[in-house]
Subunit: 208 residues, 2 copies
């Protein structure tokens, strides 16, 4: 297939190269306008696949740059996940706190869910007060906020008091608008299709 | 804040627990209907943040389950990323192939982009033929397809001939509809807001 593509009889390559040169001007201007460094709050929300996995990809990135990482999982906890197994290998670089007891429809016990969420938030507060931690992952925090297990104003106050260069990633469905308002980057994961609807179970290494 | 929440004067906890019991019935029925195990093709696309990081989170998950992982990066390559630094630590568990030379508007050379994409696809073909590899990450493949650096029908044929239990994650903007049609799970990352638009540069450990 290579020769057909490289043959430029119709000027495709030339037009592409000119378009990319114009695109570079636009991109360079945008980069020039965004030069400030700061700790950011990133939120991944929505019903699609990829919210927690995106947060754990950022954890891998941060570790690759020599940053220290802290993880608190607010809901998960009933089964050992791949991410937990893997990141627990590096206890000097990443602290991993699994504070939930499973999905809200499995526990069916709001009082215990609230007590667990509050313990998890205390753990998060320690990470959010530590300037040595470069990235804090608060996995499924949005769910704890959605069910009002935690007070969103308390959460926002603690986020805003964190060290200036510390990044935070918050995941989960049901993010409250007050949290979106104070975040820097918010992505909604929209499901276009999902294997589950087609009879395929949650696969290890993909969903957990 | 704990006492107010646990005080159930208004029946909040009781109503919550009953709602979760009903939700469990619905969820359990869905799980019962989705019991098949199979290798899945996952696509992350759209303009929002989280496409590649989600793929690398799945890589961490797979490693945590003792699976072998292969990564081909089709576009990135101009700068060393956190994910590359990190995952290169485990050469026996994950093979990491950075085959690009940077963004299309940086290279401005379609012939070289095509040649690089074809070399990268050859590397992908080796991984897609190896039943010992449990997860293959094809990072930014969608961009190579969008610019027609590669033939989408060839890509689909190789994906469909892969080992039955192998999972594949494909990332990037501009996914062609033919690829969506053969994928199992597709998520569109929609940007709700982005720090970049607010003057903050791409942050290490978050965007790279």
């Amino acid at each position: 297939m290579s020769e057909e593509k490289i043959n430029d009889a119709d000027g495709l390559n030339e037009r592409h190269n000119a378009r990319m040169a114009r695109k570079k001007e636009v991109v360079d201007k945008k980069i020039e306008a965004a030069k400030r460094n700061a700790g950011v709050v990133v939120i991944t929300c929505g019903n699609g696949k990829g919210k927690s996995s995106s947060a754990f990809g950022m954890a891998a990135r941060a570790l690759g740059h020599g940053m220290k990482v802290g993880v608190v999982q607010f809901i998960k906890g009933a089964i050992a996940t791949g991410e937990e197994n893997f990141f627990r290998r590096f206890p000097d670089e990443i602290s991993f706190h699994v504070m939930g007891e499973g999905y809200t429809w499995e526990t069916q016990n709001r009082e215990r869910d609230v007590a667990n969420a509050e313990k998890a938030w205390q753990r998060a507060q320690v990470l959010l007060a530590d300037p040595a931690v470069g990235l804090v992952v608060l996995d499924e925090l949005n769910i704890a906020l959605k069910y009002k297990y935690l007070d969103v104003q308390q959460v926002i106050a603690d986020l805003q008091a964190r060290p200036e260069m510390q990044h935070v990633v918050i995941t989960g469905r049901g993010v409250p608008p007050e949290l979106i308002a104070v975040a820097d980057t918010v992505t909604e994961m929209q499901p276009i299709k999902h294997a589950f609807a087609n009879g395929i179970a949650a696969q290890q290494g993909v969903e957990w």
